[in-house]
């Protein structure tokens, strides 16, 4: 009895999406809005999705975007965590680097693009560097905050128990800062995709962003929509992925501490 009600409710839950898709299909087919060329029906978009996948265009562009995000995000995060740990741990480092970082932090990652186009030139390093910058600053900030917010009591307890400073850093401080570090990573996971497509739209000839601009110039709304679907799925996946990793690594003890 209860099961059935639940099933019925979850069926009702996707009803709005079904209606949405049906409306899309209808408006597209009837050419009610902007004409069928500018507003292709859902089925046409799906067909194009299949077509782009089959001929490898989507896969190729997707892979180059994915590679850039992975390399940029990974290197930016590692560097960010390292600098953040040092800043959080050593007050001198914080005093020296803190003001400069809070000066550079608010510059929109994309604002660096024209500068980097001139400094680096238009090549694979460009999008990777942009993503590096986009992930580096928030991760530094969150890591340093996390490290600094570790309760001094835990450090003192470890000291009286005889632990060396290095042991305290790796066994106490960093583990306890993980929830904060993950906050930074989770934020950047989705953001890096957003910044990447912007960079690809402006300056890079390959990747999902470039495909979007190419589709625009060819007036192929169906391809644009396929790209958007892929993008929103990747943004979601990356954010959920980090959330999952966080739950795995700190879920057992965090949020209760």
């Amino acid at each position: 009895m209860r099961r059935r009600t639940e099933r019925l409710q979850s069926a009702l839950g996707i009803l709005p999406i079904v209606v949405f898709v049906a409306l899309w299909e209808a408006v597209g087919r009837l050419g009610l809005f902007a004409g069928q060329l500018l507003f292709p029906p859902f089925s046409a978009v799906m067909a194009e999705f299949y077509h782009l996948t089959a001929n490898g265009v989507l896969g190729e562009n997707f892979l180059s975007s994915l590679t850039r995000v992975l390399i940029g995000l990974f290197s930016g995060s590692v560097a960010g965590i390292a600098v953040g740990v040092v800043m959080g741990w050593k007050d001198v480092a914080n005093k020296a680097l803190g003001p400069i970082i809070s000066l550079l932090f608010p510059i929109p990652a994309l604002g660096w693009l024209p500068l980097l186009m001139l400094w680096i030139g238009i090549n694979e390093m460009l999008p990777i560097t942009i993503i590096f910058i986009c992930s580096f600053f928030p991760v530094v900030y969150n890591t340093a905050t996390g490290i600094r917010n570790v309760d001094r009591r835990f450090i003192q307890a470890a000291e009286t128990l005889g632990a060396s400073n290095i042991r305290i850093l790796f066994r106490v401080i960093i583990p306890l800062a993980l929830p904060n570090i993950f906050t930074g990573l989770r934020l950047e996971a989705g953001m890096s995709w957003r910044v990447l497509i912007a960079a690809e739209m402006v300056a890079i000839p390959t990747g999902i962003g470039a495909l979007l601009m190419k589709a625009e110039s060819l007036v192929r709304v169906d391809i644009i929509l396929v790209c958007l679907i892929v993008l929103s799925i990747m943004c979601l996946l990356f954010e959920k992925g980090f959330a999952l990793a966080e739950r795995r690594m700190v879920g057992k003890w965090s949020n209760h501490a």
Binding site: A157, E159, T160, L161, G162, A163, L176, V250, A257
Partner: protein, 349 residues
Amino acid sequence: MPEIRLLKVSKHICRDVDLTIRDGEVFVVVGTTGAGKTTLLNVIAGVTDYKGKVLIDGVDVNGVPPQKRGVGYLFQGLALFPHLTTASNIAFGLHARGHNKRAVNDRVLTLMEMMRITHLSGRYPHMLSGGEKKRVALARSLAPSPNILLLDEPTSSLDHQTSKYLRSELLFLLKKLAVTTVYVTHDLREAEEIADRIAVMSKGKVEQVSTPRNLFFDPRNRSVAEFIGMPNIIECTGSRVLASGLVEVESGDLRILLPYDGNNLAKIAIHPEDIYLSDVRDPGPALNRFTGRVDEIIHQGATVRVKVSVDKMMLLTEMTQDAFEEIAIEQGKEVNVVIKMRRLRYVEA
């Protein structure tokens, strides 16, 4: 089980503290929040910098880092590592000192059995109750076999009964281990129960060091008297045992029933908070209930002190501001006065 000496120690609020803690004694430091009690423990443990000197068994340990002072420290709030299980928390200090895995496991097991927490071995701190956490933290601080044990409010945030039991267990444990113990608490009753000697701290100064009994009937100054709560010291004109463990004390026309075993009494101390006032007559039995008159009402922040006279005797009472506002009493008016039967502080005749 060494002797600890502090010479002209200054840190935060603490100014020029001199103190000698004797080899093997349970030395209790009492005082209100912010009196500098925890700072003193931090100085002895070496987890903070300070001015002055700390000697352990006559040896200056000023340059010695906390890792090498041989001190076990039960922190206020415990500071159990939230990301480690019970067993890993206890093992932390042993691993840090480079013991091999087998020796660590044996020692952790022994400690968990001693503290009766073996069944909690795999749990994280957030899965433990208040009393369980205390025992884990105690086991952790005892693991590296320290010579000195620093306990910061070890029974705080436990329910009354658990805290009472933990206290008697602690007392037993401390006597067995024979470590020198510095025990910090804000609770005077607790201090009296467990202390060999008590130090009263106030605003970073040690005001008095004495045995528990002396503190009560012979406070050295106003600040100590304030801390022990300005007890009403009542001279007894007679006393009569009513039943085993119960005595009726006479003072002028007043007769007060109190729990007590033993000889005749010369003086008793009654705490201002142990005297209830009320504007209506409670339905309960008239045990130690009198009628008095309000002489003076003194507001002191969150508490209110009311002086009442009962049969020519002046009694000081104290209650929270909240409680005060629930009753309608005014200067010069009559009130019902109830003296609660609590454990007695006394001087025998």
